[in-house]
């Protein structure tokens, strides 16, 4: 009898607290993993769309600021597909060139006479690829591929059919 109560005392005194501590450790680990997974999914969602969303918003803003007949066109400069926007300031003509170089959407703003130089642009967003299209009815479309391979499309109806 005495022996039995002794072994149940061991179970109560050592095994049960140990079991509870193990359960506690397991729950802590599960909670930490769940938190990590939630954070990872939030971050992945942001990363997926960040570059392409920024680029799409930027293109739309740029086009709505310069939405006049014949100002916008798409040109090919060597391997680069360049969105060009002509503007006039103090009787001088300037050209804004938007293109993708080394995984970055870049913009350069220079006098019209300055030749295209891909390394001179200012970085706008990190994107893999950006395909521009300007149709005769004035619909500008861009398909932007983010660093993570997520594609975003944007369109803008230009006044007077653009200048392509």
């Amino acid at each position: 009898m005495r022996k039995n109560s002794g072994s149940s005392g061991v179970a109560m005194g050592i095994l049960l607290p140990m079991g509870l501590i193990c359960l506690f450790a397991f729950c802590s680990l599960a909670l930490a993993l769940m938190g990590g997974r939630a954070y990872k999914s939030i971050q992945a969602g942001i990363d997926d769309s960040y570059g392409s969303t920024v680029a799409a918003g930027y293109l739309r803003t740029k086009l709505s600021q310069n939405n006049e007949r014949g100002q916008v066109s798409i040109e090919t400069e060597g391997p680069y597909e360049v969105l060009t926007i002509q503007s006039e300031q103090d009787d001088r003509f300037y050209i804004t060139r938007i293109f993708v170089e080394e995984g970055e959407l870049r913009e350069s703003y220079t006098p019209t006479s300055t030749p295209f130089n891909p390394s001179s642009g200012v970085t706008i967003a990190k994107v893999n690829e950006c395909r521009f299209e300007l149709s005769e009815d004035g619909l500008f479309t861009a398909e932007i591929l983010s660093e993570n391979g997520v594609s975003t499309r944007t369109a803008f109806a230009l006044a007077g059919g653009g200048g392509a």
Binding site: L16, M34, S151, A155
Partner: protein, 143 residues
């Protein structure tokens, strides 16, 4: 006797700790779940509004006929289907649907076209609804 009392006290303390931890766990697990859901909804809203904005611009430039992938939804509107990555998809594989409804109001000098876009997921849960109005001069006579 004293030893036994000490054991019981230790167990009670442990149980209280675990109880407090379990409550915290339940609250935190709920919060993590909510954060994940919010992130997903934010992403859906961002992509849906981006797509709807593009559709509005296409409509402005080309009219309803210009949206080639649109299919009549049987409710006087058009439906456009998209996959998980918001790429155009067939109706069966669609994770998201955008319904477009256009109403043309003849103003005499032209047409005021009101377009409502309603984005939802394949479970029918609404993501967002946006409306725009465009004025088409000299197009009198309705749609």
């Amino acid at each position: 006797m004293r030893n036994r009392y000490r054991n019981v006290a230790f167990l009670a303390e442990l149980l209280i700790n675990i109880l407090v931890f379990s409550i915290s766990c339940a609250i935190l697990a709920g919060l993590f779940g909510q954060a994940g859901k919010l992130a997903r909804e934010t992403r859906e809203k961002s992509f849906a509004s981006q797509e709807i904005y593009s559709l509005f611009e296409t409509l402005r430039a080309r009219g309803p006929e210009g949206i080639t992938q649109a299919q009549p939804d049987g409710q006087d509107g058009y439906a456009l289907h998209y996959d998980e990555q918001w790429n155009p998809a067939g109706g069966e594989n669609a994770a998201y649907i955008i319904h477009l409804y256009t109403t043309d109001n003849d103003t005499g000098a032209g047409v005021l076209r009101e377009v409502t876009a309603h984005a939802s997921n394949n479970q029918g849960e609404e993501i967002c609804t946006l409306t725009t109005k465009t004025y088409h001069q000299g197009e009198g006579g309705g749609a």
